[in-house]
Symmetry: none
Subunit: 401 residues, 2 copies
Amino acid sequence: MDMHELTRELQIKNKTKIVMLVGDGLGGLPMTPDGKTELEAAETPNMDALAAKGVQGLSIPVKPGIAPGSGPGHLGLFGYDPLKYQIGRGALEATGIGFEMQPGDVAIRCNFCTLDADGNIADRRAGRIPTEESAPLAISLRQIQIPGIEVFVEPVKEHRFVVVFRGPGLGGNVRDTDPQATGVPPLEPEAVDEGSRKTADVARQFLIQAREILKDETKANFHTMRGFAARPDLPSYEEVYGLKAAAIAVYPMYKGLARLVGMDIVGEATSLDEQMQVLKENWESYDFFFIHFKYTDSTGEDGNYAEKVKRRVQLDACIPAITELGPDVLIVTGDHSTPAYLKSHSWHPVPTLLVSDCCRPDPHTSFGESQAITGGLGQFEAQYLMLLALSNAGRMGKYGA
Amino acid sequence: MDMHELTRELQIKNKTKIVMLVGDGLGGLPMTPDGKTELEAAETPNMDALAAKGVQGLSIPVKPGIAPGSGPGHLGLFGYDPLKYQIGRGALEATGIGFEMQPGDVAIRCNFCTLDADGNIADRRAGRIPTEESAPLAISLRQIQIPGIEVFVEPVKEHRFVVVFRGPGLGGNVRDTDPQATGVPPLEPEAVDEGSRKTADVARQFLIQAREILKDETKANFHTMRGFAARPDLPSYEEVYGLKAAAIAVYPMYKGLARLVGMDIVGEATSLDEQMQVLKENWESYDFFFIHFKYTDSTGEDGNYAEKVKRRVQLDACIPAITELGPDVLIVTGDHSTPAYLKSHSWHPVPTLLVSDCCRPDPHTSFGESQAITGGLGQFEAQYLMLLALSNAGRMGKYGA
């Protein structure tokens, strides 16, 4: 059974406030067999104080042994079964830059590239052409016309831009045209299924016109298309949980994810301090706040253990700004682990902390992987975290008579 | 979602080696309330050393409270949902003696029996007739002809043999003909479903001819049929995991189980020492090794606590022969518990140990039921163990963008 069938039926509205603080890639590994994880090595007095009052456990992002991308990682935290709901890269990117995809839209991540005289790719990213040069090029592609299709072109950053096709009968399963190599020509867009044939045709027409428009540009005389994706059909937080939800994120992808589940993107914070300011300013207007902190992940991806430890300290330092607002439920978690040891997302379950006045505390007085193993929340699939949030906020009625 | 949909998509090939050492019926119970389980009572210095480096937990063979047979117990460990994939005894037995069942085949375990003058069963196992006498009798049944059906008869051991029917439209759901009692006649084969009617008919024809062929034999003048089973349709390890897998087992049933998931049966070991030799000889040729040790189960079935403890010590002693080969992932587990106290398979979750360079160790320094309760793997369904094995070996990509 989809848990949302239950939450739709059992949801209760009240005045409580729920805060979910997501340290991206929060979980980690020791660098040596006897070492500590990044979280354990970090001085986190505020989280430790929360641990003493609250209950912790380990969140399994998808299923044991599965390392998720940001999409499934966050969908799980938001309570959407990440094996049922899947979001393609294009849809993520488009939504992340503020483009509001409509049902039926197909979004594509595009990279400007440089072709040599033979039409082979010389540089897959057009020398990471600066945004101020690439944005006008992207905008020049808006002149492309395809009969029966509305076309949107949005600059992103450096060599990246997004194309969205809107029209009837467009499926999202088309193969990338980036050959992932230089010295060869870009690939043709090929439909993976019958329902995406029209999309592949439209993409082909787009590429023919783009080649003509860009042909005399020296830095970026063509582009590739990757991550074709239809807009996923996700029910909203308001509908499934009865929550008016706000997302306070810095990076486009996480804003995009939040927008897909119907959260409002509030503020234009560029740092954790500014995010705390935005939280305070919007406190009265929302029931639920998703706060995203990127650097616990990116430092792990870089394999920079010491920096990852520092970022956990930084995350810890924002806790008082949240607690002084008096949330009824405060959750600290991550969408997956990103151990510096592996330099990548991993499958390891994520330390997760929940504090409310009725959370049944466990005996732990600090927050970390080793504590979470024997924490009161046990090991649980991330998709159940929102049920715990709602219940701890008094927002879920009893199931069955 | 079937996890194999994911593993097919996410599998990565590399040079890592995974070893799964299965102590059949590994888990146990104390004989008295304050006692130790068999595993806890055993001196297992090698497993304890692994526990210090690795992570342990409790594997739930099927679902909490379900005691599995060998079939579902192993399917779970192999990563095949044991509630989705079911293997009948006949199919197990046939595969275990080296008979390669084809899709559509139906296999039946047969027992020679002795009928009295009235046609009632006098001895359900024909006095456990020695193999050298029963094999020629089984072979004499190969003269049986049934129009449109290919019939195979294979001797097994003592009173046991296997019959396989091959032909179109044969279902596997037919009731046993063994009445489980003496002084009564054998039962007729009855189809349980429409699709198995033809099989029941074929079995009836087989039994009529067999009765005629055996009628003058003094020790075994008839046979019963049990465990009718079609060949289960299991995808292979190679396909779902990208693993070239070898099974090193002594007993036919476990070889059969491994063959059903596409493992190669390597060596002809008759002892754990010989199994270690076979492992070493085949180390370079395979990615994955399933090593099966029977006696941790059979001693439990006998209710022999002391002997079961010894068998755990014996299992422990083989660990150095494995570790000196340098596996990237080493798993020690069981297909279920077989507490001497219960003299049977049980539902209790099974202590399971995983060692790799990125397993996120837990604080435990010995291996046993009490430690596994608070181990880092938590309690998990056996069907996810292969996902953990693959991830720890770097053989699974990230799910989703």
